[in-house]
């Protein structure tokens, strides 16, 4: 094998343009495939991020009020609605809130450890709910206690109600108090009134999944406030196992029967978590598919290009191959020659490709807040392209090895 490299190199010097083109194509393909695979992995990682809630049995109803009531009037409506919803046979529990996990946007609140601190320690996604919130969403309490019914107060639009107690996620608790002693501590939500952590829950996904929130992933808190906003609220329902479809039918009917001066949109007013996930991760899912298609087609085209050019080289060199065969070269020697030739070109290509891949990633990092490319994807890409090259060259190389020694004696 090694002995062949020198003649191959000198032969390549006569096909500079072709060899360069294949090398360049491999380099560019590697650069794009590495980055595309990396984007796929990042997006798929988003998809599998846990929410901490009982997604399979949850239903979210967006309820807007047609009449603009006062906070007290709205609260009466909300409480009546909740009683009716909780009495539905298929419903395990229900809660009224300002938002729901993975909503896409919502209320986030800077959190500080002292009232006069200017740079916030955390940025929490804020959920409002009564003592049924944890049970409804299926969030696991890992320390402390749930809210007591007497701690729950209504909150209207733009009202400054600061609850004296709060339940936070473990992530937020650890961020605020890295020593693990968060329970019973006071925190501040950009006001001078403290709120005391009485409970800690395991995982509760934030409302926004945007890039800025990723720096504060899983930082959520719950205040014992019943959303009585004049504009609208969300009812979150947890169905008993297997009852989701039935609850979906009944819940809206029940609400309209209770009071018809409300708006529940036919299109998107009632969502289960399959739909919410799809909305939240649509672009991630789409990007992963798109990058997958790009990779596949790109690799196919590069392979086709290698087959095409190598076939041309083989047909150009039939006479030389014949001479070599006549002089005693075995079929294996000829096959090896073309395989080695391709390997050399590919190696040159991937070397340039690695540089291009890293450069492209660095540029994406600065422009689109992407992460640094992991070397694993570069190595995977290199291996993929080397194998692709060898695979693509196989067919023309076998054809070359079948050239009969008699060809040496024929003129073209």
């Amino acid at each position: 094998m090694m002995l062949q490299i020198k003649p191959i190199l000198s032969a390549l010097r006569r096909h500079k343009a072709g060899a360069l083109l294949i090398g360049l194509q491999i380099a560019l393909t590697l650069a794009i495939v590495c980055n595309a695979l990396f984007i796929i992995q990042q997006r798929v990682a988003h998809l599998s991020a846990p929410s901490g809630i009982d997604e399979a049995n949850l239903l979210v109803i967006q309820n807007d009020w047609a009449n603009k009531w006062t906070t007290q009037e709205t609260d009466v409506q909300v409480r009546t609605d909740l009683v009716a919803l909780r009495q539905l046979p298929g419903v395990h529990d229900a809660v009224a809130s300002n938002a729901y996990p993975m909503r896409g946007s919502g209320w986030d609140q800077f959190i500080t450890l002292t009232p006069d601190q200017t740079t916030p320690t955390g940025d929490a996604s804020v959920y409002l709910g009564d003592e049924h919130f944890l049970d409804t969403l299926g969030v696991r309490l890992v320390a402390g206690r749930n809210f007591r019914p007497d701690e729950v107060h209504p909150i209207g639009n733009r009202e400054n109600v600061m609850s004296p107690v709060t339940i936070v996620t473990k992530t937020l608790a650890d961020k605020l108090f890295p020593d693990g002693e968060a329970l019973g501590k006071s925190i501040y939500a950009m006001t001078s009134t403290p709120t005391v952590i009485v409970g800690i829950v395991d995982v509760l996904q934030t409302q926004s999944l945007a890039n800025w929130q990723m720096k504060h992933a899983y930082e959520s808190l719950i205040w014992p406030l019943r959303a009585a906003s004049g504009t609208g609220i969300y009812y979150i329902l947890r169905a008993k196992p297997g009852q989701l479809a039935a609850v979906r039918k009944e819940a809206v009917k029940t609400l309209y029967a209770q009071n018809r001066m409300r708006i529940i949109n036919n299109d998107g007013g009632v969502l289960d978590y399959t739909q919410i996930r799809q909305r939240a991760y649509d672009s991630d899912y789409g990007m992963a598919i798109l990058m997958g298609i790009v990779c596949a087609v790109l690799l196919a085209i590069t392979a086709a290009g290698i087959v095409g050019l190598t076939s041309f080289w083989v047909s150009q060199r039939r006479k030389q191959i014949g001479v070599r065969r006549a002089l005693g070269a075995t079929r294996g020697d000829i096959l090896g020659y073309f395989m080695t030739e391709n390997l050399l070109i590919s190696l040159g290509g991937v070397l340039l490709g690695v540089v291009l891949a890293i450069a492209m990633n660095l540029w994406l990092v600065t422009r689109f807040e992407m992460h640094r490319l992991s070397m694993f994807y570069v190595l995977a890409g290199v291996l993929l392209l080397l194998l692709l090259g060898q695979g693509a060259v196989l067919a023309p190389a076998i054809r070359a090895s079948k050239v009969s020694p008699v060809e040496a004696t024929r003129s073209v």
């Binding site: 360049l24 639009n157 733009r158 600061m162 950009m190 990007m287 798109l290 085209i301 290009g305 689109f368």
Partner: protein, 438 residues
């Protein structure tokens, strides 16, 4: 000569169907990928109001100070507080101006058997209609007097008018919104600028059309909260709606119409003076920090084009480049295989120029075929865009005449460009050497 070379080209392409198919496919896929992603990019980076985009401006005032601006690279908040918006409105320094915010308005049908419906609505000043070039089917916007009187008037969309009044002229009639009657002053014609430039801060930049406009002054009087974002750097000092209006919370959009560059410069100076005045009055404890951006700068600043659209366009461009490199290689193989033929032609008197013409035309034929395949695949791609992008964005990507022409232009131009090197090599063939060696 062109027709003859074109025929020669087609004949030669038929001779190596596999190689030809490879080239056509490479160009087809490359062009289709670029054109599909470009169609999305074109839709998202669209200028929604080309005739006026350089005359409409968004002022920004820093009412939060350098601590908050530090997290946004010195940018003032993207929305305005009630205090500043009203202050600018009172000074009335632009030709036209409006404050605006999205409101959740529900229509309560006269027929008690029908359920109430919510409509996408905005609270604006009467200036907004001539400012944004809103087309009217019947009537028009409301007057400044009606703004000042907090009048219960409304401008409705064509779709809303069709639904409620079956397309009849409904100007002067009343509708019940949130339990109160509003008099219709105008019915808009179809109007749905994409992106919805006047409010890209709240929710998606590509929403469903706006159905209703009500006076800002009335919405504030009725304490209608924003349906969009509200950002506070600290909790309001005073309770209730009044406390909220006095707070530094930002939730309002502001637009000014400044017809000339001089107007814009003067307005920027005015914003600076306004901020300086607030500093002197003790409300701002920092130096004035203001911005004034026209429509396209504002859309760019708000990053209305989703990063997915940019990344996929870039990847698709890279893809096209690879396809072209591939085509260069394959054309080279194809042309050089005919070295002896070239030799004969040259020996019989064909000039280098003739060889150039012949081979470039042959390449153009490949490009044309690639363009056809590319067009087909672009059609499939545009159809499949909804799998990859937000449906609200995907529906904007369309295969129109200009995209069809562009597809062909890119395919042929790219292929001819790719053919230059192989053609140059072909033209370099020495007739004597070719004839001798055989």
């Amino acid at each position: 000569m062109f027709a003859y070379y074109f025929q020669l080209g087609l004949r030669s392409l038929r001779k190596n169907p596999v190689l030809t198919a490879l080239m056509v496919m490479a160009i087809g896929f490359g062009v289709a990928a670029s054109m599909t992603t470009y169609s999305v990019f074109r839709a998202t980076s669209n200028n929604p109001i080309p005739q006026k985009s350089s005359q409409l401006f968004v002022p920004q005032i820093d009412n939060w100070g350098p601590e908050d601006a530090a997290t946004t690279m010195g940018e003032p908040p993207p929305a305005m507080s009630y205090t500043d918006a009203i202050g600018l409105m009172r000074d009335h320094k632009a030709k036209r101006q409006t404050i605006l915010y999205p409101v959740g308005v529900s229509l309560i049908p006269a027929d008690a058997n029908l359920l109430p419906i919510s409509e996408r609505s905005y609270a604006v000043y009467g200036d907004a209609f001539p400012m944004f070039d809103v087309p009217f089917l019947y009537g028009g916007g409301w007057t400044t007097a009606e703004d000042d009187a907090h009048a219960a008037v409304v401008v409705i969309s064509k779709a809303f008018n069709d639904k409620l009044f079956h397309g009849a002229n409904s100007v002067g009639r009343e509708v019940n919104l949130d339990g109160r009657n509003y008099r219709i002053t105008g019915v808009m014609d179809d109007w749905n600028p994409q992106p919805l430039f006047f409010d890209v801060v709240n929710s998606s930049a590509f929403p469903d059309p706006v159905q209703l406009f009500i006076p800002f002054t009335r919405a504030i009087e009725l304490k209608v909260a924003t349906n969009g974002n509200n950002n506070c750097n600290k909790s309001p000092a005073n309770d209730g709606w009044e406390g909220y209006l006095q707070s530094e919370c930002v939730w309002l959009g502001y637009w000014a119409e400044l017809p000339t560059e001089t107007d814009a410069k003067a307005y920027l100076q005015y914003l600076h003076a306004y901020s300086a005045e607030q500093q002197r009055a003790g409300r701002f404890h920092w130096a004035p920090n203001e911005r004034l951006r026209n429509v396209m700068d504002w859309l760019d600043n708000r990053k209305v084009v989703p990063p997915e659209s940019k990344i996929s366009l870039l990847v698709a461009m890279g893809f096209l480049v690879i396809c072209l490199v591939n085509t260069v290689g394959l054309l080279l193989a194809k042309f050089m295989r005919r070295a002896s033929e070239i030799g004969v032609r040259r020996a019989l008197g064909a000039s280098r120029k003739d060889i150039y013409a012949q081979f470039l035309i042959e390449a153009a034929a490949v490009g044309l075929a690639g363009g056809l395949l590319g067009l087909l695949l672009t059609g499939v791609g545009v159809f499949g865009v909804s799998l990859v992008f937000d449906p609200r964005i995907a529906r904007l990507a369309t295969l129109d005449v200009s995209l069809v022409l562009l597809t062909f232009a890119v395919a042929i131009l790219a292929t001819v460009l790719a053919a230059f090197y192989p053609t140059w090599r072909a033209a370099q063939v020495q007739p004597a050497w070719q004839l001798k060696s055989n």
